[in-house]
Symmetry: C2
């Protein structure tokens, strides 16, 4: 069978099929394997994992599914309904995830691609919801080689690739799938461009797509979201190839308006080389750091987890005739830069001596405002029409004064900063003794102060052809398309609009990657 | 040629083709023709119309396109770019709309389906934007028979149908298109279900789909929007048939996350018979009427035009873990009910003696709160998890006090109510002498007060197969699918996420309906 895409989902599919004895070939569009997994923190969210069970703590099924359903489709969630209010096929997708996620971890462990490292200390992103009966302990990480907090994406990709090569899976890099080959109404192969040469790969078993989302397809992004979302962390090869390839065989698309979202450092994301590195923000460290809009006002709980934080950019203003928050501004003091500056993935605050032209610094808020507005002007259309209000600096002074009062009181009555477990987990270092609410500390009374421009972006998109619980691609007539499977960000995510927890991405990718690989392998056996 | 759908777009396509001499058949899924047009107010937004030119007022092209582009794709709008920042094919769609809209009005006039009635007094929905050089006078209506303010949808549909029958176009009602017939890579017909019997219609020319959006397809709605949108005013037959029919021939979908949005009266929309009538709200009349959330606080400019107003329901709250504003509450005093109660399309305030179980009335805010919360509880899952905060009534009292102060001052510093021309246009009757800001008046100091539950809904959706400027359906390979055309709400709207003005819906429908009809007719001539 054929796997298209060499990230977490694709490698897991390939290993699952190979373990069953199927002959497997893996096609990777990029020059190197890894896809978005290469850049990921590699948390793996595994509900109902045996570390929980082994610790005498069960992860009962119904509340776990209620937690997932509530966040996946909030406005139709119905705790009294057998399917929690979801369409039956969607309910089956989350049920299967609950049932099968751990089997994917076991598979990767058997194949030598993963040494599971349980993290009982990591909370779900909505740990406070009544449905979340197991708010801690669903995250598994690869056993770290280089970092004490968990393996890096690069290490995980190397382990996956090593396991694949060890069991004889040929890997074709710089090999882009172009279209599907059908015979008798069944997908039997892939036509691909391998280093400029068109080639045909034929499969006795099925074809598994695990080729990533459409974060770097500008038109598809523009035409899929009704809010101002830009590209982000996903691998540059994630151009939505599978959306058009699968559309041509009649696939049914879903969740095209959903994404795994995160704010991005706008100017980092605009430079070509940085678009390929990680401009996405997943944890804003620092207790004297706030986000303000063009008026100089706070508009969001700055410690909200990244997917929620991104929603703050989407506020529509009919008088303004657009999105006044399409660009926001991270402002912090020098103590925060000294305390929290690092190059950890996802924290935008860099060491004070870092070369970082996208970070503006000035001795006063007034000077900082002038510099920010000049930068917005220089950005042209990339500023999305946002310029600072004339009294931005004055308002910012007042905003900081009020924030300082909140910090001293340890409570943020406006945005509830620091009230959730995940916010405290992601908040980074704080000043010694700041234990009332460690996510907030008054700004230093004197500068320098620092600022950067933020925009709403994706880690990757969530829309694409729908799958059923067997990871089969569903056609627009509601029936599975014979021979075609999918997993990871190239298919409509079983999570709907939810970001349940850190690692929900990779957790779903390997769970449905394994199921897709097993399905394709079983087809090979039929022949 | 074949037209699928008997609303404004479909009839215009049929009449355009017939005028060219083509033989035309029209298939309508409903028991009667008319679709959503039957329920529409029938405003027709026509940029660059000769009433403007004749009055010595030009409607210059570039600013008109800038206005449309800015609102269609706000975050990529670039006034300095030749395409205003839009992808070229999208720019061509709005340019063609500007160039051709009037020709559609002329066609319908020639065919006896429309007597144009110019309304120089109606403002665009964003008349205050600098790009809007012609903020008044782009709306055309059918010359009214029964109402002095413009023809009704029913009258317009009767005129369209009459014109079609007069020129010999056969109309098949209760005839649902099932799939396309292709020969040699070209669409040559439609298989349909006509009153339970499968029939085939073949076309020498092309096939034009004008079959409406997917407002009444629950799964497609759920899987297309990343926010809590319910069904609304569209014809009950608008179940997104064309999305799956066109997907099976490889169409490229776009704007699946966009809709023509309007709040709905939730309980009206939930009853089967009312789902078919108009629960959608397009003008909230009354100067002592406010909208509050579960906390009893205002969250929106209540006079904002309906599409903007709907955005207020979408505020995400990560601490709450959902959409706390998914249900909002319209509260008004008895003077407003007496002054503004009518059964005009789109105004939710009914006469005081109307039979209306969805309207709750009580002598005090406290009693009203208790009744509202009981109703929310009784609604179960339809309340989307929303219940009133324990101190709702107290907060509502304070909210009304503050609103009263704003009303006396004539200015709403929080939400800018009544500042835009369109808000004043839609505001309904006001108390005599209330001329400082006629959209606001203090509440009466004593009850009864009235309330109803609101939810976010659609007039219809905007997503579907993409068209090019010739109204040809575009395939996922970027090329037009030979023989297949589309117009109206069944295709990806050229307006993107914008609601430029009242009548943008019908204006686009007839403009691209005509172009589709001409295109299909010209194919017939080739044979």
């Amino acid at each position: 069978m054929i796997v298209v895409g060499g990230g977490a989902a694709g490698f897991t599919a390939a290993l699952a099929a190979r373990e069953c004895g199927a002959s497997v070939v893996l096609l990777e569009k990029g020059e190197q394997v890894g896809g978005t997994t290469r850049k990921a923190g590699v948390w793996i969210w595994v509900p109902n994992n045996p570390f929980l069970r082994g610790g005498g703590v069960e992860d009962p099924k119904r509340p776990a599914l209620q937690y997932m359903a509530r966040l996946a489709r909030p406005h139709v969630y119905d705790p009294a309904s057998p399917t929690c209010g979801l369409p039956l096929e969607e309910y089956r997708l989350i049920e299967t995830f609950y049932d099968e996620a751990w089997h994917a971890v076991e598979l990767l462990t058997r194949m030598g691609a993963l040494q599971p490292h349980h993290r009982p200390d990591i909370p779900d992103y909505y740990a406070e919801l009544p449905e979340d009966e197991r708010p801690y302990g669903r995250v598994i990480m690869p056993q770290p080689r280089s970092r004490p907090t968990g393996g890096t994406g690069l290490e995980f990709v190397e382990a996956l690739e090593g396991a694949a090569r060890a069991c004889g899976i040929p890997i074709h890099t710089s090999c882009r799938a172009l279209k599907l080959i059908e015979e008798d109404g069944r997908v039997v192969g892939v036509a691909a461009d391998e280093r400029g040469r068109e080639r045909t790969f034929r499969a006795r078993g099925g074809v598994v797509f695990a080729s990533g989302g459409f974060t770097h397809n500008r038109e598809l992004m523009l035409q899929s979201f009704a809010f101002p979302l830009l590209h982000g962390a996903a691998a540059p090869s994630n151009e939505g190839d599978f959306v058009s390839i699968a559309s041509r065989v009649g696939a049914r698309l879903a969740n095209m308006g959903c994404a795994w979202m995160a704010p991005i450092q706008l100017e980092q994301a605009l430079t070509p080389e940085q678009a390929r590195s990680n401009a996405s923000i997943t944890e804003i460290h620092g207790d004297s750091a706030i986000i303000v809009n063009r008026d100089g006002r706070r508009v969001v709980n700055e410690k909200a987890m990244y997917n929620d934080l991104t929603q703050a950019f989407f506020a529509w203003d009919g008088v303004y005739g657009g999105y006044p928050n399409a660009r926001l501004f991270l402002i912090y003091d020098d103590a925060t830069a000294r305390l929290c500056g690092d190059d950890a993935t996802g924290n935008p605050i860099l060491p004070v001596d870092a070369e970082a032209p996208h970070i503006l610094s000035a001795p006063t808020f007034s000077d900082l405002a002038a510099a920010l507005d000049r930068r917005l002007q220089a950005l042209g259309a990339a500023a999305a029409g946002v310029r600072l209000a004339p009294d931005f600096a004055v308002t910012l002074e007042r905003t900081v004064e009020r924030f300082n009062e909140y910090a001293l009181a340890g409570a943020d009555p406006e945005f509830h900063r620091g009230e959730k477990a995940i916010e405290r987990f992601f908040s980074g270092p704080t000043r010694p003794g700041n234990d009332r609410n460690p996510t907030m500390h008054p700004f230093e009374p004197a500068g320098p102060y620092h600022a950067m421009i933020l925009a709403p972006g994706t880690l990757d998109t969530k829309g694409g052809p729908m799958i059923d619980a067997g990871a089969r691609i569903v056609g627009s007539d509601g029936h599975a398309i014979p021979g075609l499977f999918g997993a990871g960000n190239c298919v409509a995510s079983p999570s709907g609009q939810a970001y349940w927890a850190g690692g929900a991405t990779v957790g779903l990718a390997i769970t449905y990657g394994r199921i897709a690989g097993l399905g394709a392998a079983s087809l090979a056996g039929d022949h």
